[in-house]
């Protein structure tokens, strides 16, 4: 890639340095070569800002401004595409293996003694998910599902999503990219007999029922068991954006009306005694 014309390209440093401060040009060129690797322009957002845009964490005015920039910046479009691909962008990485090692090592840390800890629940993840998704036992179990291996935790509630696209079935990880038209089925690890509902939460806060397919109220409990295949399937509509699927389990019958979205990141308020586990989908155009 050729260098930009002198006078039109400004490094972050050059943009911000006080007038009259003279830096060594060789230093600037060396350090800003990284920028050339990243193919940034002077007004391109930082890596962290693009991350937050990807996760939908920016206010709408800032997000709209960045989207306008993206529309005219091929380099930033590529940077966003990298984020949409998630771990799939790194062909050499065994992300499932890395995840398993981290979870196991974390369990080892737990076994070594209680941490000095401050609960970040609420600022990081939804409290209900924290309770529901607890890794109650440290044993990790790998279940072969289609083309990839999905990590499960023995003893806890877990939701798995099976995706059918163009005749192929896989089991993507939470935070993966999905396309309109993808057909989804669900698998569940259920630690105890419970009433179950799979609920989708759109960015707008609108909730919809994926399971059971016959209404917005549970009628009978499902028996406890691992790797249960839930009957029925749903097809993703044409809308794009981030949606969150929740597996909600309760010891008694419940209806969709008893669930409330409680944060912009797709969290749910649950009836007393219920718990949930979630799965995040980033819906994008193919």
């Amino acid at each position: 890639m050729g260098r930009r014309q002198a006078g039109t390209w400004l490094s972050p440093l050059a943009r911000e340095r006080r007038s009259g401060v003279k830096y060594d040009e060789k230093v600037l060129r060396t350090m800003t070569d990284i920028e050339h690797l990243l193919a940034r322009k002077s007004d391109c957002p930082s890596e962290a800002i693009l991350d937050r845009l990807h996760w939908g964490e920016l206010d709408e005015s800032r997000a709209a401004s960045l989207r306008a920039h993206l529309a005219g910046c091929v380099a930033c479009q590529q940077r966003m595409e990298l984020r949409r691909k998630g771990f799939d962008a790194f062909a050499q990485l065994d992300a499932d293996g890395l995840r398993a090692r981290i979870v196991e090592a974390a369990a080892g840390q737990a076994a070594a003694g209680p941490p000095k800890r401050r609960s970040l629940v609420g600022s990081w993840l939804v409290p209900a998910v924290a309770a529901a998704c607890a890794l109650l036992l440290v044993v990790t179990v790998f279940i072969q599902t289609g083309q990839r291996t999905a990590l499960r935790t023995k003893g806890g509630l877990a939701l798995q999503v099976f995706r059918e696209r163009d005749g192929r079935v896989d089991s993507p990880r939470s935070q993966a990219a999905f396309h309109p038209g993808d057909r989804l089925r669900f698998g569940l690890d259920l630690p105890r007999d419970s009433h179950v509902m799979i609920v989708g939460a759109e960015q707008s806060g609108q909730l919809y029922v994926c399971f059971p397919s016959d209404g917005s109220r549970t009628s009978r409990p499902r028996p406890a068991g691992r790797a249960q295949q839930l009957p029925g399937a749903v097809r993703l509509d044409a809308s794009t954006g981030t949606e969150t699927l929740h597996a909600v389990v309760c010891p008694r019958p419940f209806s969709l009306d008893e669930l409330r979205p409680n944060d912009p990141a797709g969290g749910l308020s649950l009836p007393r005694g219920c718990s949930s586990c979630r799965f995040v989908m980033h819906k994008i155009e193919p």
Binding site: E16, R17, D51, L93, P115, R117, L120
Partner: protein, 161 residues
């Protein structure tokens, strides 16, 4: 964050952390090891988490500090010279000059720690000085001073002879 949430934390932030480690360290093996260590350090040091910042901000800080420490360790072991640059997704292959990246890593490995951190945020992350100030927990003026000192020092290191 509860330690039981580590899997979900990894699912969300893992690609972002791994990508940063790969850019700073230059090879997948080290980036994978560093990513694992970043998440485990986050768990070990939950008490240092400041709730006014986001989890991602905190993880980026840990990643930057840990990768700079690894670069310094490599330098002490004399490994930077032999470091092979592996392709990083999202980069333009024609522009990926291993010599330039190696030079940058040498500078970051040898620089004052505070100055190196500021240089990573401003030059590698592409942050404004104001944005970097939030990650470093200092004023924007301090970031400007750190960058200025880094550049002055680096100019001496890069000077011929």
């Amino acid at each position: 964050m509860e330690r039981t949430q580590i899997g979900e934390l990894f699912d969300k932030y893992g690609p972002s952390i791994y990508r940063r480690a790969l850019v700073l360290l230059g090879n997948h093996h080290d980036a994978e090891e560093a990513s694992q260590e970043v998440f485990l350090r986050a768990l070990r040091h939950l008490d240092s988490f400041e709730e006014r910042s986001s989890a991602h901000t905190w993880l980026i800080r840990i990643t930057t500090n840990h990768c700079l420490n690894l670069l310094r360790d490599r330098r002490r072991r004399g490994e930077l010279r032999k470091q092979h640059l592996e392709p990083v997704p999202g980069r333009l292959p024609a522009a990926a000059d291993p010599g330039d990246m190696l030079q940058v890593r040498r500078l970051l490995a040898e620089a004052d720690e505070d100055e190196a951190r500021a240089a990573v945020y401003v030059f590698v992350e592409g942050m404004s000085q104001a944005e970097a100030a939030g990650y470093l927990g200092v004023s924007r003026r301090t970031v400007g001073n750190l960058i200025e000192r880094f550049c002055q020092w680096a100019a001496g290191r890069l000077a011929p002879g």
